[in-house]
């Protein structure tokens, strides 16, 4: 599966388009991480726990999008976009979408 965020894949020709595929996850932080982040807020800097959490969430959303593309019989996803929104205090949604296509 070739995944890119460009409209076309350099050096390849798009033969068929299968429409939009997407994947999303909503993740909440657990209390331990929240407390650690609260302490870290005094001195500032990177919140490693949150970075990892969001990376995991993104991987899962990515996986879901890819499964959908496989179901449609696509072998590539182009023009992938990410969006993050906070649905409630302490929980954020990661949403990934792209266009499933068949390339030669």
């Amino acid at each position: 599966m070739i995944i890119t965020n460009t409209e076309e894949i350099p050096g390849k020709v798009i033969l068929d388009c299968h429409g939009i595929v997407s994947g999303s996850t909503v993740r909440a932080k657990h209390v331990g991480r929240d407390i650690m982040a609260g302490l870290k807020n005094i001195v500032g800097g990177e919140l490693v726990g949150y970075t990892e959490l969001l990376i995991e969430a993104r991987e899962e959303a990515h996986q879901r999008m890819q499964e959908q593309a496989v179901q449609l019989g696509a072998n590539a996803i182009v023009n992938v976009r990410f969006s993050t929104s906070s649905v409630a205090a302490g929980a954020s949604e990661i949403y990934i979408y792209g266009t499933a296509v068949t390339v030669e």
């Binding site: 890119t4 460009t6 050096g11 982040a37 005094i42 001195v43």
Partner: protein
Amino acid sequence: MIDLYILLALVVTGYVVGQFLEKRHYRSIYEREAELVAIPTTSSKRPIGPIPDQVRAQLVEGACVISVDYFKRFVAGLRQIFGGNVRSYETLVDRSRREAILRLKESCANADQIINLRIETSSITKGKRGQVGAIEIHAYATALYFYSQ
């Protein structure tokens, strides 16, 4: 009175430790940026210059969550009275963007080109009262690997 002392202690700790961490982070950013400067990176959709027939394209990402320290928050609070540039937040966002881009580049250190770089900023602690803001920077791009025949 005790409240005031606690606030003062937090501000001083934030200043001393925060400044130290920031300096150290900037040093590491400069070093790593110099190492990775050789990969042509662009935010345009097309590759730079002619490309060979055999190309492998791959989505690459880098992310970084960063929070403000107590001192910066305090200074920004004062700034809001008079308005103007909040320098203390500017360095924070700058650091975290550059860190995210560096992580993206490090994940594909052998790539020949990186195209269509996009950077997205989101606040992850929005809506929580009394909590200092943390922002997430997410950078994503397409890495191209060239194969010569």
